[in-house]
Every structure is written in structure tokens, then in C-alpha cells.
């Protein structure tokens, strides 16, 4: 017999629920929570989900295991009082500039205060005045609005395994902050924005570029182009009463035209182009024997993750720019001559489900002649704001259609918005057939499949969430698994679950959005990128062949090692003379194990005995990437691989003689 327990006089069967809160929700009672997310570990800090368990008193439901025959009360005078006090205490140290807060109307604290009917606050207000961190291009941190629920900290470390932010200090001084209390842009953040997605208040929000876009639209000299990412079209409608996953692309196009955009194109066009370029690159890697596996490079948070934490895999990233950056570069090369305008008059605004795309647009590789290829990136949320600001009745709009040719796409380009979509699109190219690869679809964990191509088995893996990606990379490093192509999207579920999308609180909306994209693909005429006639035409008129020199200059990029983002070099022996030689010894894990410390000791002794101390400065540094060739030592600008004392001394003496 199934064990049961009693919740507010209802008898509820226990069927493997992880905690009491899940069971209570099953009984159709929505307990308030700040710190509980089903995808994260249980934290039990906010104490809002307290319930009364007979014989045990008040317990937080999220951190209590359901047991047979428990008698649970979710509403008593005592509980109501406690919840009220908790919220009042939070409000007492919360910056209450609600009317001007970007999170207003979406804020869980505001919502809760309303629901609990809090009319006055009995506690003395203790507003903080910490500086607001606007250092990054993607996110804004306002510590004055933080309720210390730790959702951001946990999603950053558990789901993304980045750990860019954490709690610091203690007691009433506790705060969430990046390392050393520095700006977000100085740390290890990859700007996926999942922290902003789970933040119940306005403590971490998306950095808005709405005002800048209005400025462009108002400027008569600018010819403003918008392009819409696939995932946006199945989520934006949620803000106007549509179901998650319901296609509203026609209305979005119509709204963009009303807002004053000169052309409205589809990012899925350059997604098609990405499929062709990336598949061509992949096939050539297969033929030339590597480097494999090839990683997809559409997701800028993933790209940054590799550059920062696994630069040894930089060469595995496809050299293809993301569809957003392909679009910017292509549009700015094609359109000015078509409309007889200067390149600098043409402005590209991309509508993205993503916060990392904002940072990507600022990368120096994507700046041509002093102008960004993508001028501004606005998220789904920001476009919703613009539509509301303009007073457009979104639901009543007549469907518009994309401008041609950059608005034409195949279904392959559309499914990019869901985790597994890029792989499926590439597979359709490689086998040159429209097949549904159901194995790579879905949300959870690792998905894999293999196909035969010219007598060779091609093994594919798909993951979303950077923690999953890290696990996979570690297994690849240990040679436990072998794959040829790996698709990674930083956000769970892919772009549909991006941080720029309307805030969602349950998993089902993510699933519905994915379903919406696949349905869209099904109803389309073409399903393979290579069938897109306008893409074919683009190759004939401009790009020559996939992977051509021209294609490379416009559509491909390079990556760099960003491992040494945090922390300065450590000076371990200073020089007193002005004309000094700088010797930097790598103390990354590999070099450490290969004897960097012994080398440093020997060098220090050598300098001491030969009285060279005052001419030579020794520094310890973090990882120079080429770990296989350690220990690495840099003398001035010269890097010595597999360094030995002999090598170091001969180089040093050579410099000192000069």
C-alpha cells in the first residue's frame, strides 16, 4: 500500500517526492518560496515555506523529507505571523524603489508582500547604499535589492559550474558578490544570465539597451535592421496572454515595423548559413583527421566558458561565428550598396533570448572599422518592454512577414533555438536528407546518437547547461568517451530557456517552447539548410563556396585563452635595477606537477649565488595554455617549453649580456 500523509485534512499519497514542499504543491497548495528551485539543491534559507508538523513543530517544507502518517498544517495563525515577519524583515533592508525597478510586476518579493497583505512595516527601514555594478555588457547587479536567497549562487555553481558569484562576509554583513567584491566583468562570469533568470527580485537584471535602440529608431540617418532569433518567437507571446510555445512571429514582425524598424529579417537565415559552414568545416576535419571533436560555437556563453576554463579545447570550437554575428557581418556587407547608403548608416539590432549575446556583440573581433557588426542586442524581455512602451496591442496585430532575402529560412535554422537543434540541422546536412533525429531532442543530461557517413561512424553528443558540458569535457580529457561532434548550449534546454526570455517558473513552459519550434519546422516547406535558395544564391553571388576565403573573412572567427582572468601574477622576487629581466614561471596545475616549484627554488638559488638578484624579477603566474609542454617559463616575452635550469640560464645570460 502506498504510504500517505495528511496535509490540511487532505490525505495525500507519498510517491517518491523529494521533499514535503513537492507534496504540498501536489495537494494544490502553493507555499511561498524564495530559495526553492526544483532544479537546484535544497537550501532552506528563506524560511517562507514553513509548515506545522504534528509532534515536530515548525519546519521548512523544502528541507523536510515526507514521512508516512505525518500530519501537516500549512496555515495557522502562528505560520501566517511568521511569514509576515520574514517578509517585513526582508523589506526593511530592501531598496524599495519598486516603481522604477526593472523587475517590477515580475518581482517575487513584491508579489509576496501583496499576497500576504502586508500594509505596514513594523521594522525600522535599513536601506543599504551599495554601488550598482554595471560593469558588464549583459547584466546589472544591484546588491541593495538582494534578499540573500542564494538562487543565483546555486544556479551559477550547480547548473553552470562557473561560480562567478558567491556569498561573502557573515551575518548582517553577508552579501552575494563576485570574487574580492570586484565588478562582475573582472571575474569569471560567462554572462549566461541564468542568475538573473532565477533572481526573485531586481538584484540581478538584464542590462537594457532599449533606450539606445529608441535613439537609433528616432535618428533619420540610420537604416535600422532587426533580426529575430528562433527562440524569441515561441516565448514573446507569453507576455501578452499567449501560451508558451505558441508562434507569434507574424505579430512580432508587425510590431517591429510599427516600432519603426526599416527591415525585419530572420536570424534563422544565418543559422542556415551556419549549418553549411559548420558542416563543411566538420567534414573537412573528418577528412583531415581533426581536431575532433568539433564543438558548436553558436552559444557565446559556452564559447567564453571554453576560452576561460578549457582553453586547451579552443581549437575544437568550430571557427564559425554565431548566427547573430554572421548576420551582422553579412548585413553590413550586403545592404549598404543595395540601398545606396554608407555602411555606418546601416544599424543592426538583434532580438535575442540571451544575455551573453550582448557581450558577444562587443568582442573586438566583431568590430569592423570602429563599428560593431551587431550594433545592439535586445532580449525578448526588452522587446516586450518596447512594445508595451509604444502601447501596441500585440494580440490584435495582423501578421506581418519577413523581408527577403535575409528573412527566408529552412526548418533547420529554426530548430537552432532548442538544445539538439544545431546537431539535428548539421546531421540533415551531412546525410543530405530531411530526417527527424529524435535522439538528440529533449532537455535532460547528455543525449547522443551516431550515423554512418561514407563508411565511417560519426558520433554525436548534445548537452545543455555548462555543468553538463564540464562533465563531458572532463570525460573527453580522460579519454573515457570519444565523440566527433558536440553541441553545447549554456542554458538548460537551449536558447528557449535563455535568460533574456520572459521569466518562467515551471519546466513545462520550456518544453512547450521547444515543441513550438519543432512544430514550426514541421509545417515549413524546407527542412535542410542546403535547400535554402537564398543561401545558395549568396554563395553564387558573393561567398563562392562553403569554407571559401571570402566566407572565412565574413563568417568565421578565432578564439583566445582567457584563463588568466582572475588574479595578478605573484611577484616572488623583486628586482632593484630599472633594467630588469622578468622571468614568469607558470604555476598552473600541470606545470606545478611537472616541477615548477623545484625550478623556482633552483633559479632563486642560482640568482643568489651569482648575485644576479637585483637584475632579475621572478613572478609566479597562472597557466599559459600549452599544458602538455610544461613546465613553462617566460623570460621577458620568450616562452620556454619543457623548461630546465639549463634552458633558463642560457636564455637569461644571453639577455643579460646584451
Amino acid at each position: 500500500m502506498t504510504p500517505t500523509l495528511t496535509i490540511d485534512q487532505q490525505t495525500i499519497p507519498i510517491t517518491g517526492e523529494r521533499n514535503l514542499l513537492e507534496l504540498i504543491r501536489k495537494a494544490n497548495i502553493e507555499l511561498p518560496t524564495f530559495c526553492y528551485h526544483s532544479e537546484l539543491s535544497v537550501y532552506g534559507a528563506c524560511r517562507l515555506c514553513i509548515v506545522h508538523v504534528e509532534g515536530r513543530g515548525l519546519l521548512s517544507a523544502c528541507s523536510t523529507l515526507p514521512q508516512a502518517d505525518m500530519v501537516v498544517k500549512t496555515q495557522t495563525q502562528e505560520i501566517r505571523n511568521m511569514r509576515q515577519i520574514i517578509v517585513e524583515l526582508l523589506l526593511a533592508r530592501h531598496d524599495q524603489s519598486c516603481t522604477t525597478c526593472p523587475k517590477s510586476s515580475n518581482c517575487q518579493l513584491q508579489d509576496l508582500a501583496q499576497k500576504l497583505g502586508i500594509k505596514t512595516n513594523r521594522f525600522k527601514l535599513r536601506p543599504n547604499s551599495f554601488p550598482i555594478d554595471e560593469s558588464s555588457d549583459a547584466l546589472v547587479r544591484d546588491p541593495n535589492k538582494c534578499v540573500l536567497c542564494g538562487d543565483c549562487v546555486r544556479i551559477c555553481s550547480e547548473i553552470q559550474s562557473v561560480g562567478a558569484i558567491d556569498f561573502a562576509n557573515r551575518g548582517s554583513a553577508a552579501m552575494v558578490m563576485p570574487c574580492f567584491g570586484k565588478d562582475l566583468s573582472k571575474g569569471e562570469c560567462v554572462y549566461c544570465g541564468q542568475c538573473a533568470r532565477v533572481c526573485p527580485t531586481g538584484a540581478i537584471t538584464i542590462k537594457s539597451e532599449v533606450e539606445k535602440v529608441w535613439g537609433l529608431l528616432d535618428d533619420p540617418r540610420s537604416f535600422v535592421i532587426a533580426h529575430i532569433a528562433p527562440a524569441v518567437r515561441v516565448a514573446l507571446g507569453e507576455a501578452f496572454g499567449f501560451e508558451s510555445g505558441q508562434q507569434t512571429v507574424g505579430q512580432i514582425i508587425a510590431a517591429l515595423r510599427l516600432l519603426g524598424f526599416d527591415k525585419v529579417y530572420d536570424t534563422a537565415f544565418t543559422a542556415d548559413l551556419t549549418v553549411i559552414e559548420e558542416s563543411t568545416e566538420f567534414i573537412s576535419r573528418l577528412e583531415q583527421g581533426g581536431p575532433l571533436p568539433q564543438f558548436t560555437s553558436c552559444c557565446p556563453a559556452w564559447v567564453r566558458f571554453v576560452e576561460q576554463f578549457y582553453p586547451e579545447f579552443n581549437k575544437n570550437l568550430s571557427s564559425c561565428r554565431s548566427p547573430q554575428q554572421m548576420f551582422g557581418s553579412l548585413a553590413k556587407s550586403l545592404i549598404p550598396s543595395q540601398i545606396n547608403r554608407d555602411r555606418k548608416d546601416v544599424k543592426v539590432v538583434s532580438i535575442m533570448p540571451c544575455t551573453a549575446k550582448k557581450t558577444e556583440a562587443h568582442r573586438s573581433e566583431f568590430i569592423t572599422g570602429g563599428e560593431r557588426d551587431t550594433d545592439y542586442v535586445i532580449t525578448t524581455q526588452e522587446l516586450i518592454r518596447m512594445i508595451k512602451q509604444a502601447g501596441i496591442r500585440f494580440g490584435e496585430l495582423e501578421s506581418g512577414s519577413f523581408d527577403m532575402p535575409l528573412g527566408f529560412k529552412s526548418g533547420a535554422g529554426v530548430i537552432f533555438g532548442s538544445s539538439g537543434g544545431v546537431s539535428e540541422a548539421v546531421l540533415r546536412y551531412v546525410v543530405n536528407k530531411s530526417i527527424d533525429f529524435l535522439e538528440v531532442r529533449g532537455i535532460d543530461g547528455l543525449r547522443e546518437t551516431s550515423i554512418m557517413h561514407e563508411g565511417r561512424e560519426i558520433r554525436l553528443a548534445v548537452v545543455s547547461g555548462l555543468h553538463q558540458a564540464r562533465l563531458l569535457l572532463e570525460r573527453i580529457k580522460k579519454k573515457e568517451v570519444i565523440y566527433d561532434l558536440i553541441e553545447v548550449m549554456a542554458c538548460p534546454g537551449g536558447c528557449i530557456g535563455g535568460a533574456g526570455q520572459p521569466v518562467y517558473h515551471d519546466e513545462s513552459s520550456r518544453k512547450k517552447r521547444a515543441k513550438g519550434l519543432y512544430e514550426n519546422d514541421r509545417t515549413m516547406e524546407l527542412h535542410c539548410a542546403q535547400e535554402n535558395p537564398y543561401v545558395q544564391e549568396l554563395y553564387t553571388t558573393m561567398l563562392e563556396n562553403p569554407g571559401s576565403k571570402k566566407a572565412h573573412s565574413l563568417l568565421h572567427t578565432r578564439y583566445k585563452n582567457r584563463k588568466r582572468n582572475i588574479g595578478e601574477d605573484i611577484t616572488i622576487s623583486a628586482a632593484s635595477e630599472n633594467r630588469k629581466v622578468e622571468i614568469t614561471i607558470c604555476f598552473g596545475t600541470h606545470c606545478f606537477q611537472k616541477g615548477a616549484q623545484t625550478l623556482t627554488r633552483q633559479l632563486s638559488d642560482y640568482l643568489h649565488i651569482n648575485q644576479l638578484n637585483r637584475w632579475v624579477e621572478i613572478k609566479a603566474s597562472f597557466c599559459y595554455e600549452k599544458c602538455q609542454k610544461g613546465p613553462l617559463v617566460k623570460i621577458d616575452s620568450q616562452v620556454i617549453e619543457q623548461a630546465t635550469m639549463d634552458k633558463i640560464v642560457s636564455q637569461l645570460l644571453m639577455i643579460l649580456k646584451v
Binding site: 570574487c179 569569471e188 588574479g567 605573484i570 616572488i572 622576487s573 604555476f587
Partner: protein, 164 residues
């Protein structure tokens, strides 16, 4: 003699190796490193974090959580004035004032510019029987008075002067 930067860094490497680069040993590692430097310098925290493959923000969180750790350089002599209930009643604050005056510490300062002295208060050292208590580094001084404290500081200053 001042330990050279090299010797200290070399010791950090030894400490990390001793604990087998095990992230679960973070607190003992930080304790041992703080012994060396008398505080936790930022670049060393970053180095420890990268060596242990733990996010630097997490190590910073641990280092700021425990009052034992300090991110600012402390003096060679750390004066801990007990301000637990018993010591407080026995006028421990007078001792604190005397030290601060003697060392010419301005408001908000706790370490002298020459990095010789640091003054802090602690809540109960468990030696209430000999209140008020002052601890200098590891040495416990019971039944202190402002006068005795000033003499103690003079002794230290003399010792330091002859050493140099």
C-alpha cells in the same frame, strides 16, 4: 628577519602539496597560509583557488566568513582585548583605549602603519576568572590594567629596537 616573498610563496606550494591539492582541505590550507603571510593576500587566494579548482569567489567567501581569516595585513603583534561580559564589567574598554592611544591609531584603523601592531576585540576567551584579559599573539595576560598594557607595549618596542 623578514621572510622573502620567494620563501613565503614556496611555503604556499608546500602547503598545497601537503594537503594533496584537496579542495575539502581548504580551511586548513588557508589557516596554514595565513600563518606564513599573517593575512591572506588576494593574489594568493586566487592562486589557491586555481590550484584547487575551486571558484575564487567561493574561497573568498570562506575567507570572509570566518573572523579568524583576514584579508588585510596584520601586525607582527596582534592584541586581542577580550570584551566578553566578565571582562567588559572589569573595564576592558579602558585597556582598549589605552592601547589605541599609545599606538596612535586613528578611528577605523586597527593596524599600525609599520605593521608591528594590530588591535582587535574578541568576545570571550573563556578565561573569565582572570578578567580583564589581553592576548598578545599566543600569550595570555590576565588581570590587565591600562598602565600594565602600556608597559607591555614599551617592552615590545624596546625588544624590536634592539633586534634591529
Amino acid at each position: 628577519m623578514k621572510k622573502s616573498a620567494f620563501r613565503k610563496f614556496d611555503k604556499v606550494c608546500d602547503i598545497l602539496a601537503l594537503h594533496k591539492l584537496n579542495p575539502a582541505r581548504l580551511i586548513p590550507i588557508l589557516q596554514a597560509v595565513q600563518e606564513e603571510y599573517r593575512y591572506l593576500p588576494e593574489e594568493i587566494i586566487a592562486f589557491i583557488a586555481s590550484s584547487l579548482h575551486v571558484p575564487a569567489a567561493k574561497v573568498y567567501g570562506v575567507a570572509t566568513f570566518y573572523s579568524h581569516f583576514t584579508l588585510k595585513p596584520k601586525g607582527k603583534y596582534v592584541f586581542k582585548v577580550c570584551d566578553g561580559t566578565a571582562c567588559h564589567v572589569k573595564r576592558s574598554m579602558g585597556i582598549l583605549d589605552a592601547i589605541r592611544e599609545k599606538l596612535k591609531l586613528k578611528e577605523g584603523e586597527s593596524t599600525t602603519l609599520d605593521l608591528l601592531f594590530t588591535v582587535e576585540t574578541v568576545s570571550c576567551l573563556g578565561a573569565c576568572g582572570i578578567a580583564p584579559v589581553l592576548v598578545v599573539n599566543e600569550d595570555v595576560h590576565g588581570q590587565m590594567t591600562p598602565e600594565k598594557t602600556v608597559i607591555l607595549i614599551d617592552h615590545i618596542l624596546q625588544k624590536e629596537a634592539t633586534h634591529e
